[in-house]
């Protein structure tokens, strides 16, 4: 069974990747972050091949740091590699999406109940600030900013939960659907509803009404599922 024959991306490879060298970090880290960003922003598309030599030339480094960065991406689930075939940007199926969101739902519950216990006044200030940013971004229609402000809002909550490992895991889960989420926010999102939900979450946290916040959070996530599902369906139908 030539099961390797199918599903091998052969798409164009983005020409413009640049390293951000200002930080003093091991090259592999810089490469890792560069590639990850490119994947999350969609510059490197799902299925696109990650060829060592090509990337090395493009980024002006040797194959060594490229290879190490790919191992890291692989472990994060952003790339998958087939022996002797190399790596490609991970695709996401609807099932993958559902699995990820099932987990996020559980972890959001944890985050919310831990956060309602541990949240400080400083955190509330940050939440309010993130909300303002979000509303501003919506007003200006800046998709990138909208996504980032939403990100910031939720990160405050995860941080307030006081469990760094939780933040890391959720961050990783988010990353796996980031590219789709961007599309979703751009085309399908009901911003007004999102704003309302953020307000409810904030307010519920203030009242320490954990169950209520859990509920809102769950809905909030549910809306994303639908949006992202649409995007994935669309992408899939483009491939066929």
């Amino acid at each position: 069974m030539g099961k390797y024959k199918m599903n091998i991306g052969r798409k164009k490879m983005t020409d413009d990747l640049r390293l951000n060298m200002d930080a003093y970090l091991p090259l592999r880290e810089v490469v890792f972050h560069t590639l990850r960003d490119a994947i999350l922003k969609g510059e490197l598309e799902p299925g696109e091949r990650l060829m060592e030599l090509h990337l090395a030339n493009q980024l002006g480094v040797s194959r060594t740091p490229i290879r190490e960065a790919i191992r890291m991406l692989e472990q994060e689930g952003l790339a998958i590699t087939v022996p002797r075939r190399g790596a490609q940007v991970a695709r996401m199926t609807e099932k993958d999406l559902e699995d990820v969101l099932e987990i996020r739902d559980a972890l959001d519950e944890l985050a919310v109940s831990a956060a309602s216990r541990r949240i400080t006044e400083k955190d509330f200030k940050e939440l309010e600030e993130a909300m303002r940013q979000f509303e501003n971004a919506v007003a200006q229609g800046e998709v990138r900013q909208i996504v980032e402000a939403d990100e910031a809002f939720h990160n405050v909550i995860y941080r307030a939960a006081g469990n760094p490992k939780l933040s890391t895991i959720v961050q990783n889960l988010k990353e796996q659907m980031y590219r789709y989420r961007y599309e979703y926010v751009k085309d399908n999102a009901d911003y007004e509803m999102l704003i309302k939900e953020h307000k409810s979450i904030l307010e519920g946290l203030r009242r320490k009404d954990t169950e209520y916040v859990k509920g809102v959070m769950h809905e909030h996530l549910e809306h994303q599922v639908e949006g992202v599902r649409t995007v994935i369906r669309r992408q899939k139908s483009m491939v066929d």
Copy 2:
């Protein structure tokens, strides 16, 4: 601040690591699994340095696959690396333990409720088999077997939940405390209670009494926390 001066392990490095070459896998994968097993079994102790050249000589490979394997361990949280200082086996603090278990608790809840919905008769058979194995191992006092049977029992449940990503994450969380758990099972565990709890879980799943199973599972985990906490305290006091 010479903050790098402290906490650098300078322990002996195990002499006997062997590669298991029978599987046809990229060398980096074989190395990765070899090192991971060594860490989980405690052959490589927390804080022990992972020196490329040394490992390369020991395993009879070049530095390249060693480096790539270290990147993978790093991403799994089993090793930490400081630039220009190299990698060492990750240590775990009590706080780390609590964080991990807080997450596992949440994911166990998810696993249990998903599993009670999706579990099949075949899964039940496997659960029963794992229970038998566990009881046998207890009867014979084989610690390694006990741990493995317990592992198997819980893995059936995670698998029954039908969410592979959940399994992966939980697996990873478990790994981070595996070395301590082994010690705990050896010295502190109340086997009879564990057996009872397994029975209750199985029975609860049969009755599809999700809330009940969640409760037992929670207790089950709680007991582990205490045991592992003891081990960590002991290890810590040995370092000071």
